[in-house]
């Protein structure tokens, strides 16, 4: 077993454990912090796959923005962090059914996949994945349309937030 494989197993176990804690702890702030651990684990997977840009983007967006926003929301809402509330709402049966179906679907797809034993191939020394990604995002024959659509959507959200928060001056 190579050191990388050992690292992968450790990180995978930690990520799954953290994800389990997210849904099972009663304290909401703790759940959010466990979510941070799980997201960090995903970032480490990206690093192991030589996708440095995705790894840091994962940390900046999911930990730096989304997780902090969640923790903030929980802290600012009175008494939701107490441990006396029930952990499930009446829709838990549907959620369970969908989760089981999704897992079964994924397992079924992966069972026919033959790439479990492939080793990661080293990237060519000259290759700069970041440059390739950047060019692909603005190339007309690649992803420029989805990229621009996402930009417009985010801009609309930004302007919307300003409009909502605008203090009407009389």
């Amino acid at each position: 077993m190579t050191p990388l494989q050992i690292l992968f197993i450790v990180v995978a176990a930690a990520t799954l454990g953290a994800a389990l804690m997210v849904v099972s702890v009663r304290n909401l702030v703790h759940a959010a912090l466990w979510l941070v651990v799980a997201l960090m684990g995903i970032a480490i997977f990206y690093v192991l796959l030589n996708a440095g840009f995705l790894a840091v983007a994962q940390v900046v967006i999911y930990i730096g923005a989304i997780a902090i926003l969640m923790i903030f929301t929980i802290m600012l809402t009175r008494r939701v962090a107490s441990e006396s509330k029930p952990q499930v709402n009446p829709n838990w049966g549907w959620a369970l059914a969908i989760a089981v179906l999704l897992f079964a679907g994924l397992a079924w797809i992966l069972s026919s996949w033959s790439g479990f034993n492939t080793q990661t191939t080293a990237l060519a020394a000259r290759a700069d994945p970041l440059r390739d990604l950047g060019l692909a995002l603005v190339a007309p024959d690649a992803y420029v349309l989805p990229f621009e659509l996402a930009s417009v959507l985010l801009l609309a959200a930004l302007i919307g937030a300003i409009v909502v928060a605008w203090e009407k001056k009389i």
Partner: protein, 407 residues
């Protein structure tokens, strides 16, 4: 002799391989050793920083500073560390023990992590990742998390208020900081920190001084030093997020803050002052370490100079300054630099630098004159005075009705 550190690394690698270890394991051991060496070096530097900070603030305030222990009081921080270590370690009642204990570690560790991408010399860098700049931003995001955890877990309302303030400050000042970090990226054409240094045959502070200043201001806010130290405003919320921490746990926050200031100095030196660049680095690469630290300590001194000269800002002023001045300014600078960089492709370096400098000065002048035209002179009137006692009017004047004092 020109490059002792890589010499030692090569020798050690040969030694480990000679013991019959697999190349992967040798690689792993060398990486781990590198991490330990950089971390220990930076942490030892941190102890010295306590002395430096206290001496400098003493000079600013016309005092002597620590001068009893050892020459020039040099051993004072060691005594401080021993004191912090043997102090009683208190966990407040109702605190969230695990989170409470992880927070100070996270606060110091995030600062240490930044040193992984700072190039010390042309061939001496922790890890030269091609997304170095983004990595720095990501680590900044994690340090915010450490402060939230500290403030929440202490079960103290002042700590929580301090954490809220810090997060509001860090999240908003991150915006101009990230924007402005794009400027060296555009100029160098790479996100790798070492490439940014290598391409600075002209220091970027000469080309884009406004970007450099915005970066310095937003990073001072990011580390929460005066005039942006709202999060620990002693007169309002006692000590902010680290109010309940004692002994070495407080020490970790303190060390983290000092080290963060020096780290900002090193980052500023790397992005705008040419990092390890200096005379004779081509022949003797190890000189680069010296150059980097001279520049980093100079910026550290500037940060201290600002800290001990300016009073604390009010929170709404601070946020207004960020959103209404720094953010538009940094967006303008980024757009301008990107357009000029494309327009000036292939132009001789002095012309390129000159046009960039001119554009920057123009933007600075425009921004300052817009800001000046909106300045309010004198304090804002938030209400009319209601005198309780009215002086007697001279005879003949019509008596005014008495002013009601009940609200």
């Amino acid at each position: 002799m020109a490059d002792p550190i890589n010499l030692i690394a090569t020798w050690l690698q040969g030694l480990l391989a000679g013991w019959g270890l697999a190349p992967e394991v040798v690689n792993f051991v060398m990486t781990a050793l590198g991490v330990v060496v950089i971390a220990i070096f930076v942490l030892l530097l941190d102890i010295f920083l306590v002395w430096l900070e206290r001496k400098t603030v003493a000079r600013f305030q016309d005092r002597l500073g620590p001068n009893r222990l050892g020459p020039y009081g040099l051993f004072q921080p060691i005594a401080d560390v021993i004191k912090l270590l043997i102090k009683e370690d208190i966990t407040p009642k109702g605190a969230d023990k695990v989170v409470f204990n992880i927070a100070p570690i996270l606060a110091l560790a995030t600062v240490l992590l930044l040193w992984a991408v700072i190039p010390f010399a042309p061939n001496l860098v922790g890890t030269d990742v091609n997304v170095g700049v983004l990595y720095i931003v990501a680590i900044g995001a994690i340090s915010t998390l450490g402060i939230i955890m500290a403030g929440w877990a202490a079960n103290n309302k002042y700590a929580l208020l301090g954490a809220f303030r810090t997060v509001a400050q860090m999240v908003s000042y991150e915006v101009p900081m990230v924007m402005i970090l794009l400027v060296p990226v555009i100029l160098a054409g790479s996100m790798g920190v070492n490439k940014i240094v290598a391409s600075q045959s002209w220091w970027y502070i000469v080309m884009v001084p406004v970007a450099a200043i915005v970066f310095l201001i937003s990073s001072i806010a990011e580390i929460g030093r005066a005039p942006f130290d709202l999060s620990e405003a002693e007169s309002e919320i006692v000590a902010g997020f680290h109010i309940e921490y004692t002994g070495m746990k407080f020490g970790l926050f303190y060390a983290g803050e000092l080290l963060h200031a020096l780290t900002i100095g090193a980052l500023f030196a790397t992005f705008f002052l040419g990092g390890w660049r200096g005379p004779f680095t081509d022949q003797i690469p190890i000189l680069g370490v010296g150059y980097l630290f001279v520049k980093a300590f100079f910026i550290y001194w500037v940060i201290m100079w600002v800290k001990y000269s300016l009073p604390r800002l009010r929170i709404d002023h601070m946020l207004n300054f960020n959103w209404k001045f720094l953010t538009p300014l940094s967006i303008t600078i980024v757009i301008l630099v990107a357009i000029l960089d494309k327009l000036l492709a292939g132009v001789a370096r002095p012309v390129y630098a000159g046009v960039m400098l001119l554009a920057n000065l123009l933007v600075a002048w425009a921004a300052l004159s817009i800001a000046r035209s909106r300045t309010r002179h004198g304090p804002a009137r938030v209400g009319e005075p209601r005198p309780v006692a009215v002086p007697p009017k001279p005879a003949g004047a019509t008596p005014k009705p008495p002013v009601s004092t009940t609200p």
